[in-house]
Symmetry: C2
């Protein structure tokens, strides 16, 4: 990562703001310029040390940037990328932080002008909070990592630059094709979020002094922003549907064993599920 770089962060929410804080604190960029339509967000980003400069004008934000990072909700990434591309200097690199990648990568590979090099990325980090007020370098902790999703159109320099950018921020970088990324994240993040929302919606209203810890823990992510998550679930809907069918199979097996009072089968299913979970790195 050349320290002489000017990095524009478009969208100063939890991820964009936290990224800016780390880039500035670790001196991974010469200048971090932030774009937000909201002047209060720009002020907050400035006072939190997330940006060197802030602007509500997209052209001003991106025209001198060496790297432009789109850190908006997934539904806004493609249209904003196309607008940014009109203003970016030749050779500048565009990347994003979207939680689903297939739709974004396919659309930008098709629609971006050749002069703008794009590679998708997804920092697997964050919390149920949103907005610049929740930004903190702590989200990029030892368990966080970034998935870069190169495609046939990705050029090497862009891949190297974006890998280097995130390599300075999170402890681990990995590469996956966008489709594979989407299938894995559907099963391990998007579906879990959907189940948490469904569980929260179906829970009884009152009756206990407080909800048991298992419920609170399983539904924490249902405190996440509904707009953000509607966009993620819709943008990755076919992979989410496939993961849900897989979940249906394992939950149907459990239900059957319970209904039939088949303790042996039930214990075996639970033990298998436990073994899978025990194998997960916790970090």
């Amino acid at each position: 990562m050349e320290q002489s770089q000017r990095i524009a962060i478009v969208g100063l929410g939890l991820i964009g703001g936290s990224l800016g804080m780390v880039l500035r604190r670790r001196k991974l960029a010469h200048t971090v310029v932030g774009f937000s339509r909201n002047p209060a967000t720009l002020r907050a980003a400035k006072s939190l040390g997330a940006i060197d400069e802030g602007t509500g004008d997209l052209k001003t934000a991106v025209r001198e940037a060496d790297i432009v990072v789109l850190a908006t909700p997934v539904s806004e990434i493609v249209p904003l990328a196309l607008r940014c591309a009109r203003f970016m200097k030749p050779g500048a690199i565009l990347t994003d932080v979207g939680s689903s990648k297939g739709e974004i990568v396919a659309a930008l590979d098709r629609l971006l002008p050749k002069a703008v090099a794009f590679v998708g990325a997804h920092p697997v980090a964050g919390s149920e909070k949103r907005g610049i007020g929740a930004a903190t370098s702590a989200i990029f902790d030892a368990s966080s990592y970034c998935i870069i999703t190169p495609s046939a159109r990705t050029n090497r320099r862009a891949l190297r630059t974006v890998s280097s950018l995130w390599g300075g921020v999170v402890p681990k970088i990995t590469q996956l094709p966008a489709k594979r990324h989407d299938a894995l994240l559907a099963a391990t993040s998007h579906l879990p979020h959907a189940l948490a929302f469904a569980l929260s919606a179906s829970a009884p209203d009152g009756g206990l002094p407080s909800m048991p810890r298992s419920f609170l823990e399983m539904t924490r992510v249902a405190k996440s922003d509904p707009d953000l998550w509607a966009a993620i679930l819709l943008s990755n809907r076919s992979a989410v549907a496939a993961a849900w069918r897989e979940f249906d199979r394992s939950s149907a097996a459990l239900r059957k064993a319970i209904t039939r009072k088949d303790r042996k089968a039930l214990t075996r299913l639970l033990a298998k599920a436990k073994a899978r979970r025990d194998d997960c790195k916790e970090q």
Copy 2:
């Protein structure tokens, strides 16, 4: 709670061991006697300060006790209660810590001799760990509480004694009919556990550097003991099935909105689920 009491804890696992530690540390009993078939468990309980005396003989454990607390897996509570009753002195009180209450309370109300006063209890506390090695007074923290499930057969003295016992251990006591207890716990603990096991079983094996935090959190309870949870799910199967149907309804609504790409409906459902979760006391 008279400090002159002798309390027998039958089953020295996570809950029994932790209860003994608190009773002794806070001097809530004159003597805590522990029963386990496993001599190593008795030794561990002694060295952890969970019991004053330990024995592998049930009669020795319970015959002088003023209160007998059954802290075994739910499937063993009824048969052990009936054995204990044969040895208990007149006027002694029997209680349990089972996570489901309907089957236990109904069976013991029917089968116990009149001389033994029984009232069911469920300390809502614990973790995914099991066994005396995991016992700690910390499980009875500020968010823990105990649900006492009196029935038509419960006598006042037993209710007072068991309420007083748990009142010294957890910050809050509440009373619920066993059936209501089971419906509430099915929806807020037993179903969440089953979903966590199902999610863990359906997750892809590898492909990511580590599982996202949402997955780890939603499946932590899938690290729980399969035998214990098979017994809980089976003993509360009709309430679990009812809670699962309720969950089906809210998850079907989400899936439909996703499949139809109905962002407005999806956002509304997620927002409703979030509002429910935001309303939960965290503590």
